[in-house]
Amino acid sequence: MTAPLLEIDDVSVVYGGTVHAVDGATFTLDQGGTLGLVGESGSGKTTLIKVVLGLIAPTRGQVRFDGRDVTGFKGPERMWFRAQAQMIFQDPASSLSPRLTLRRILEEPLVIHGLKLKDHWPRVLDLMSAIGLKEAQLDRYPHQVSGGQARRVGIARALILNPRLVVADEPTAGLDVSIQGDLLNLMHDLQQRLGLTYLMVSHNLSVVRKVTDSVAVMYLGKLVETGPTPTVFRAPAHPYTRALISANPVIDPERKRKHVILEGEVPSPFNLPPGCRFQTRCPMAQDRCRAEAPDLRPVGRGQNVACHFPLTDQE
């Protein structure tokens, strides 16, 4: 058993002294694995991935990459980490500098890291052909290419520095179903070929179920459940996870599942109730939930859940 590539250890991000955008998040991600980070808007997913990438310093806690504290990186160490951890953006077109040609955009990683174009460009071309980009397209500007091409440029840029960790923020958002498979297959191939580790943020539970091997569910800044994907989807232990899975609409008319529909909406992070953050919408909240905030704790089969009364298998 090797040490995990990424360890998130009790990370909190507090804005303005009171708003807990992320509160005590803890999980690990093994080399070569794919972790799905799931949650609705306002859950803190975006803040958490920025912490992972070292763009935001956590108020408390540590992010360790390869055993080293990400927040302490300075100078050359920081640049090393910048090459090791990359990101694929949700909206590919707006993640490309609009006044640069695609060629310049793909040269950026090399220029920033002081690498000679001459020595490294052949490798970029190899990568491009694996991704399905042609050099002839590179003299265009981002607004002159299709969304699919912009997406591929974004992926190529993220991989040029040979990262080990790739954070993918909603990689399939806005994609038609008929082409989403292409992208996910490509990401899978690249993972196999380059030994990548993925941290994938997605609200699409079908995608998460299919492509991740572990999953972390966030609600209002807290991780409410983590565990192996098949286990969590088969037997969610947190009532929120169960509701989330059941809210994902099923196509097959013969397998309409019983919906657990959550009442109410996510409360404002500015005035959280004492106790469990999910209590206002939880169908099974009890007195203890209103008094005491549950911590993430193991419930077997590799699952961790932050609930006083976790669901057991088959209800």
Binding site: L53, L55, R78, M79, R82, A83, A85, Q86, M87, F89, Q90, D91, S94, S95, L96, S97, P98, R99, L100, E108, P109, I112, H113, H143, G154, R157, L161
Partner: protein, 278 residues
């Protein structure tokens, strides 16, 4: 670039503006070549001449050739306008970008400074400074560029703020780009459009301020020709001849009209909202 010019040419006001601007540029830049006389050469016997084939715009009270003086006045106006705008554009933009990235207190201080500058009537401010330091071309440039700083600074700041959290900048940060690289390679090219438009619209403002200061005798010092001093000389001798006032006024009018029309056409041509529709 070619597309922008074509768009300006495509509308009648833009075309008029472009023609006037090019004409004025030719007059100003080519003054040394075009002018038939030394602008300071006196010909007392021939003073107050009406326009003739020898003196196309006539002569002034010292018998100097008005056409030559007008060409050199154009050169002065352009020199003052361009250097003022460049100083103001560069310093203002840097202050604006600085404000957008600075800690809150510094940002507030810069904004208050902008408010103070723009609350001063620029002509009064200029008069005060000249009264204190004496007249001079460099001082005119300095004064006017300070009064224009808030224009560029505010627009630059607003542009940077709207871009600051753009995903493409975040992508560069993830790659490890330094802040200087973010600003110079990625932000500046994206905010230049509106600033260039603003600069071209400010040119007529600078030209009028320079002419006004010179008219009042606190701008460009004699014997340098300026539309303002030409107007003033002509005004003093209006009983003898109207031509100096008429031609200097005409030049001033054509220059402000030309640059204004050109600036408006330029704005419409590179307005980002119109551009994305194509």
């Amino acid at each position: 670039m070619r597309g922008v010019i074509a768009q300006i040419w495509g509308r009648s006001t833009g075309r008029l503006g472009l023609i006037l601007v090019v004409l004025i540029l030719i007059m100003g830049l080519g003054a040394q070549v075009i002018s038939p006389y030394d602008p300071n050469e006196l010909d007392i016997l021939n003073r107050f001449s009406d326009p003739t084939w020898i003196h196309p715009m006539g002569t002034d009270h010292l018998g100097r050739d008005l056409f030559s003086r007008m060409l050199y006045g154009t050169q002065t106006a352009l020199l003052v306008a361009v250097s003022t705008i460049i100083v103001s554009l560069v310093v203002g933009t840097l202050m604006g970008i600085g404000a957008a990235y600075a800690p809150r207190e510094v940002e507030r201080a810069i904004l208050i400074l902008f408010d103070i500058i723009s609350s001063f009537p620029s002509l009064v401010f200029a008069l005060a400074v000249v009264a204190l330091l004496g007249p001079g071309l460099g001082k005119v440039v300095l004064i006017v560029s300070i009064t224009l700083l808030p224009h560029f600074g505010r627009v630059a700041r607003a542009q940077v703020l709207s871009l600051k959290n753009a995903p493409f900048l975040e992508a560069e940060r993830v790659l490890g780009a330094s802040r200087a690289r973010l600003v110079l390679v990625h932000i500046v090219p994206n905010i230049m459009g509106p600033l260039v438009v603003l600069a071209s619209m400010d040119i007529p403002v600078v030209i009028t301020i320079e002419a006004g200061l010179s008219f009042l005798g606190v701008g460009v010092p004699p014997p340098l020709a300026s539309w303002g001093t030409l107007l003033n000389d002509g005004y003093a001798n209006l009983t003898e001849t109207i031509w100096p006032v008429a031609f200097a006024g005409l030049m001033l009018t054509l220059a402000t009209l030309g640059f204004t029309l050109f600036g408006e056409a330029l704005r419409d041509a590179i307005d980002p909202k119109l551009k994305t529709d194509r």
